[in-house]
């Protein structure tokens, strides 16, 4: 077993929290993709643009969360 002793316990906790948040947002994005694909197949074409914008915002949120986290790391 390898332990990452370079990280302070608080920093380790915040990294783990980030992983959970980003993973949850990814799961939401995945659901959004399947739902919008199903809607487009069903002829509800208006849903595609809001779904894309929401997905893009989720990505920007994830990116921001990761970049701010990286700055705090040694």
């Amino acid at each position: 077993m390898i332990s990452d002793k370079r990280l302070r316990p608080g920093l380790k906790g915040s990294l783990t929290a980030r992983i959970w948040i980003v993973a949850s947002v990814c799961a939401f994005q995945y659901w959004l993709l399947t739902a919008s694909m199903e809607a487009v197949h069903a002829g509800n074409l208006k849903i595609a643009i809001p779904a894309f914008v929401t997905c893009l915002l989720c990505f920007v949120f994830n990116l921001g969360l990761i970049l701010t986290g990286e700055k705090k790391l040694p």
């Binding site: 390898i2 990452d4 380790k12 990294l15 783990t16 980030r18 992983i19 980003v22 993973a23 947002v25 990814c26 994005q29 995945y30 959004l32 993709l33 919008s36 694909m37 199903e38 487009v40 197949h41 069903a42 002829g43 509800n44 074409l45 595609a48 643009i49 779904a51 894309f52 997905c55 893009l56 989720c58 990505f59 994830n62 990116l63 990761i66 986290g69 990286e70 790391l73």
Partner: protein
Amino acid sequence: MSDSREPRWQEDFPCKTELEEYITRRDFLRFLLVVSGGLVFGNLFVMFKSFEPQNIGALRLDLGPAQDMMPGSSKVFHYPTEKDPALLIRRANGDFIAFHQKCPHLQCPITYHPEAGESLRCHCHNGVFDLKSGRGIEGPPREFRPLREVVLERGERVWAVGLSG
């Protein structure tokens, strides 16, 4: 300096399996970011797909002589493009009707069943459609738009002349 407990060969091949399989939280987060970006591209693809023209205008397609089809039978044709399979149905009472063949739920092909009151069925998820309106009456298709009807013209021959709606 090498560890005295390590076998001699590891000095020449200093490979640590434990380290090879070790993924840091940072690496895992970056991997999740790549997944997130991939999902954005997936949604972008769906958005472009939704911009594709749905109706390419009036196009007349000869579907053959009316008398060639027996009442209670069906045949597949493609309208308005080769990518759009449709089902021409001659009902038990002799009327012709045609629908796009893709189920609006997940695009499985639908089939015509002349027995037991005539119906259109999707076998992927046991969907049933009303033959007059193309609306889903059983299974997942109830939640979606009706099947798209192909407008027909009938004389001695049957022609597909457009799409309804």
